[in-house]
Each structure stands twice: as structure tokens, then as C-alpha cells.
Point group: C2
Chain length 445, copies 2
Amino acid sequence: MDEKTLEELIEQKKFLEIKSEIAKMNEVDLAELLDPLDAQTTLLIFRMLPKDLAVEVFAHFSMEQQVGIMEAVTDEEAENIIKDLFFDDMIDLIEEVPANIVNKILLYARDDERKLVNQFLNYPEDSAGSLMTIEYVSLTKELTVKEALAHIKEVGLTSETVYTCYVIDKNRKLEGFVSLRKIVTAEEDILIKDLMEDDIISVSTNDDQETVANVFTKYGFVALPVVDNEERLIGIITVDDIMDVMEREVTEDFQIIAGTSPTEDSYLDTPVWQLVKNRLPWLLILMVSATFTGRIMERFEAVLAANVLLTTFIPMLMDTGGNSGSQSSTLIIRGLAVGDIEMSDGPKVLWKEFRIAILAGVILAGVNFVRLLFIERVDVNIAITVSLTLIMTVLTAKLVGGILPLIAEKLHMDPAIMAGPLITTIVDALALIVYFLIAKAMLGL
Amino acid sequence: MDEKTLEELIEQKKFLEIKSEIAKMNEVDLAELLDPLDAQTTLLIFRMLPKDLAVEVFAHFSMEQQVGIMEAVTDEEAENIIKDLFFDDMIDLIEEVPANIVNKILLYARDDERKLVNQFLNYPEDSAGSLMTIEYVSLTKELTVKEALAHIKEVGLTSETVYTCYVIDKNRKLEGFVSLRKIVTAEEDILIKDLMEDDIISVSTNDDQETVANVFTKYGFVALPVVDNEERLIGIITVDDIMDVMEREVTEDFQIIAGTSPTEDSYLDTPVWQLVKNRLPWLLILMVSATFTGRIMERFEAVLAANVLLTTFIPMLMDTGGNSGSQSSTLIIRGLAVGDIEMSDGPKVLWKEFRIAILAGVILAGVNFVRLLFIERVDVNIAITVSLTLIMTVLTAKLVGGILPLIAEKLHMDPAIMAGPLITTIVDALALIVYFLIAKAMLGL
């Protein structure tokens, strides 16, 4: 059912038809369908949903809709939603909603959950701790396959995943894991300790979500255990949650690389004024910085006045410098994000960029020299000046572009801010200084 | 065990110790550990692995190592590897290796697989068909939970995932799906048709892998069915395979946005000369294009000569234009990639960028006007010229940056090529023309 059909059916008050149509839909599509509707209509349709589906749809609503629903529903309905919500979704909700809703949520949360809420709220934002859920299946070594299956049957529907079960000792120390695939394909009387794998790959509560995403991508797991300093199992992170995180992290990197403040809203849903606010700060900073290049030109005004032709090569030099620097910085930023490059690789990166810059710079300068001399037919001294500057600019750009993201990482800043726009501004200024110094020397100005 | 320990143990010929250490490791880590070793040492250690683990490690080797191993092993060993390899891994191998290895692989492939190989090799690169595997669990509606579990127990170890089982009719038409979680938590005598869900979300064999990745992220599935035109189940794609694809797609977008040819090798592993070859084409194209801006300046040389001060604002105008355009194009490129923006949104995007540009442009120009008049103390006509040009430049940049990625998508090109570098070059030329025309009018030159 699409939005238009739904609106028509609502207008015609064909509620029975709506009820039978929506019960067939996937919870994600349903949440998407209801999200743009006004609070009252959403509530009307939300109440038609079977109880299980309603909670799943609720978990996929936007934060505004969730708050709207929580404010509008009866206490009994609120209790039903909260009790069936997975713990990580509940934590997400608590982190965002106003205090009166938080009280409502805590009132209806299960006793064991309420105690954990405070602990979870204390994990740093974007850490493994803030992503994990407590609803996992834990087994012990001495269980048989039959006993394990009986346990899974009992707790399976309230666990976020049953596909990886975790084996813990009496102190909750993680001893191994076993996939449900292994359990269902094994004979009934085999012991879990003979099925489990003990090459545990885990993350700790304070690990950054980007680290967690890279572990998932590398090993192809459906779930990952989160442990504390004493290797005790605290929670798990499931692959569906981390895929959202990966997409958001990448979008954030794109936004920062483009020089805008990161936002989680989609482009079309963000109001114009908000987009202006996201984009303006960097544009202002970079505009003011770019006036320094103007100052440099003013200082060398005599050189420019003596040979106006020199100014016509400035755009080409600036653009080539900017592009060379962006290439290096963007690839290093991505390498850092996926874990291909580490901070300690600084010297390797610089040496590599140095060699690339010399090769690329000499080729570009060569092409440029030939073009200037034989097509544009400029004076050979000018051709040499421009071509030498080109080599120096490419070299500067690639070294600056290669090292700044690593420095940002070292300073615990997001390397993505060291992308094209900033590099371009820095390289422009350096390129102009080099250009005028070489011009003065070569042309005797 | 790390690389250094392994090398020491090899040198000391402590093979028993190596054997017991590697058997404990995760297959991904093992493949990573062995990959840099020479072919002979890899083979030596590869042969120490338990048979099951060996095949898993093989699947995670780089293509070069896989070919090396296939060339070096005995026929019996090759047969063992090929028979246990998942079908999608086998297809990947066949697509890359030389003909003599292909023959070896086909010789040892299972009969039913051999017939399918040709069909699979015909799916377009980067399509759902080229990603999928045929090793899934299919059930029929009339089975009981007990019968279904017995079937899963039988085929589970040779299926790439057992966590989503697909319900098909006698013509292989997909009727629904049921999660293993539902099966293991249900009573033994319940029928699959009462457990299964029929709101099927599927992709078709020709769908692009980016589309497939977006479906996974949206719905949070662990597997997705691939169907043909008649809704018959052809294969499945699992979440671990799609996570690799997502990471590669994003890295490719980053590379193209930075103006380099996409490559699958990591930065540190790519030779300098290869990196130069990846980066040089765009640098050359953009350098030559940037000379057009030089030509424009030559045409207006009289204006520049009459007022050299005008040249000092060119870097600021060019940079602000480039940054404004990059912001728009990068966000649109990302929006297209994640499916937030579609081709049909062209008019909405242009209208949004127009309003953003006017707001941002006027604010930037205002700041700039005040700075020029009161700090730099330039002539009011020059301040007006520069500020008006700034508004026009931001407007041009945002419209060009907003629309070019959509045009690329329409032309079935990768929108990512319409990123910063290209936009900057186009906007530079337009900005200069506007600048000189306004200057001529305002300053009467």
C-alpha cells in the first residue's frame, strides 16, 4: 500500500480494509508510510496493528513520532510498547525524549532493565556500549544440544538474535560462542563445549562504533559480543544495527569532507534554513582564510603589475594544487576510516606521497611546459616559472593532503575535516608564495 | 599469533606448535596472516590446517594466493577445496583465474553446480545475480516444524545461511520466508505455512549491488532472496557478502569524488606507479580545463591591467565558488547512493539549492562587503563588484553542483564523478566571466 492509497482509504473511512492491508506489510515499510502522517492519524492506524507488529513499527518510527505516540497513548498501551521494545531501542528512546516521557518509560520497563538503564546511559555516544543490547542467548558449557535448544525455544522470541549464542561461566566470563547453525545440525546429546568455538572476537564497551563496524565487515559476523575489562559478557551488537551505523558514519564523512556540519536528516527532509546553517560556517571560515591569498597577491602587486600575463596562470596553478591535495587527503581519510591506514603509518604515507608527487608533478609540468611554449607561445622564462611552480605546488599539496588527516587522527579529531576545502585553502596560499618567489628570481622582477 | 611469531616458529621448524596455534585462529585472521608469505610457505602451513578450516581460509585468501594454491596442490587436495567451497566463492574464483585453473575447478565441482556456472557467469558484474549463492534452505508450506528442523539438520552445514529459510511451491515460485528463530521457538507440530511471512522483500538478478545494499540497510535482514521475472527463487544474498560490497562501493565513491580511478587495493599495498596512473588522468584533464580560465583572464587583460587590485580577490572568489559547489554535489551524490534522492527529484533539488544559494550568498557577500569597506578600505565600487560576484558565484556553484550529479545518474554514469574537482573547474570559469562583466559595468573600464 502506498501513501496515496492510504490517504484515500482514510478519507473514505474504509478502516477494515486498512487494517487488513497494513497487517500484511513489513514493519519498516509501515513505519515509513505512517511517519509523514499527522499524530492523530498515525495513532488511529497504529492502534489497528496487531500487538507484535505495533512494537516493531514503533521501533522504526522517527524520534518525533515515537514521542508523539508515547504522549498520546493510554498507560496500558504505553506499558505494552515499553515491555516489548528491545533494550537498545528503549535506551535510544530514553536518550532523546523529554523527562516526562522518560518517567513513563521507566515506570513500565521491566525491573531488571530499569537497573541497567542508568549504566547504559553512561556509555559514551557512538561507543559499542551505546549500541549494544542485553537481549542475547547465553549458554553454559555443560548443556547438551537438546537442553540448549529448549533454552533457546524459551528465550528466543525476546532475544534480539538467537543465531549466535554465547557460552559463559558462572562469573559471566565469556568462554566461547556457538552458532545456532551448529546447534541445529548437531546430534541431541552432544555437549555445547564440544561445539563451541573459543577464538572469541569481541569489542569492549568503550570501543568506537567505527571500530565495531570494521570488525563486522572484516569477519562477516551476524552478532558481536561486548565485554568489560574483565572479559565478562555485557551485551551484544547485531549486524542490522551496525549496518545503520555504517551508513550514517559514511554519510557523516561525506558531509564533513564537503565542508558541512553533519546531520542525520535526509537532504530532502531538511529545511532550507537548516541546510544554510550547516553549510555557512565552513564557507565563512574558508572565505576569510582565502583572503590571505589575496594579501599575498597584494604584497607581490609589483610583480603582477610588471607582468599581467602571470595572473592568467593563477587559476590553473590553484586548481591543480587543490585537486592534487584532495586526492591525497580523501584517500587517506577513507583508509583511516576502514582501518587500512593507521596513525603509525605517517612516515610511509609521506614517503609514498612524496614519490607520487614528484612523478605526477614532473609529468604535469612537462605537459604544461610544452603547451605554454608551443601552443600559447609564451616566453621560455615564464614557461619555466609556471612549470617549476606546478611541480612545487603538487609536491606541497600531496604532502599536506597526506599528513593532515593523520595529524587530525592523532589529535582525536575526525580526519574528514582535513579534506579538499581546507587543503585547497592552505595549498593556494603556499602555491602563490612559491609562484611569486620563482617569478621574481626567473624574470628578475 | 602474529606475523613475527609465525616467522620465528617457521625458522625454528617448530611445526607442531604452529599447527596447534593456527587451528585455534579465526579463518579471516589466518588468511590475513598467511597472505603476505611466499607461495611455498603458505602451502606448507595451509596443509597443516584441519580440512574444514582450510576451505574457509582459502575463501578469504587474495585472488593471487588462491591461484597460487590451486596451481600447487595435488588433484585430491584441489577436489577437496572445490567441493567444499560455497558456490558464490567458486564463481568469484572462476571469474578471475586463468583458463587452466578454471578447467581444474570445473573438473572437481559438483555436477549440479557445473551446469549453473555458465548461467552465473552471464550475470552483469556488480549485479545481484553475480553476488548470490545457490546454497540456501528451501522448505514447503506443508512441512511441520519437526520436519523442517530435520531438513535443516541435513542440509544446514552446506548452506550459506540457515537463518532465513525460503518457502517455495513446486514450480520454485517464492511464497514466503520463515526465520530459523521462529522455527526453533515454535511447537513441533505447527505447519510452516502458519509460521511463514508472506510480505516478501526480494531483489531481481539484474538489480545493481548498490540497490541490494540499500535494501539490506533499510530492513536489517541477514539474507535476501533473489528472484527471476516469474518470481521464482534463483538464489540468496547473505549479509556478510553485502557488507563487503557496501564498503567497496563507498571506497569507490570516495576515490571517484577525489578524482582518482577506483581500485580495490588498499592504499599502502598499491605501488607508487599505480597510484600515479590512477591520479594523473583527472589531474591532466582538470589542468588543461583550468587553462580556459586563463584564457578568460587574457581576454579581460585590459580590465586587470587597469585595476590590479581586482586580481587579488580572484582566489577568494574561486575558492568560495568551489567550496559552495562541492558542498552541494557531494551531498547530492551521497543522497543518490543511499536512495534518499532520486532522479525525479531534480526540480526539488534545484529549487532547494536556489534558496540555499541566495541565503548563503547574501550572508557571505554581506560579511565580505563590510570587511572590504571597513577593514581593507577599498573603493565602494570595488566592494560592490566583489560582493555581487560572490552572490552570483555561490548561486552558479550550488545550481551546477546540485544538478550535475542528477544528470550523470540520468545518463547512467556514476554521479560521483560530478564531485568537487570537476565542479570547481566549471564554476571557476563562470565566476571569472561574471566578475569581469560586473567589473566592467561598475568601474566603467
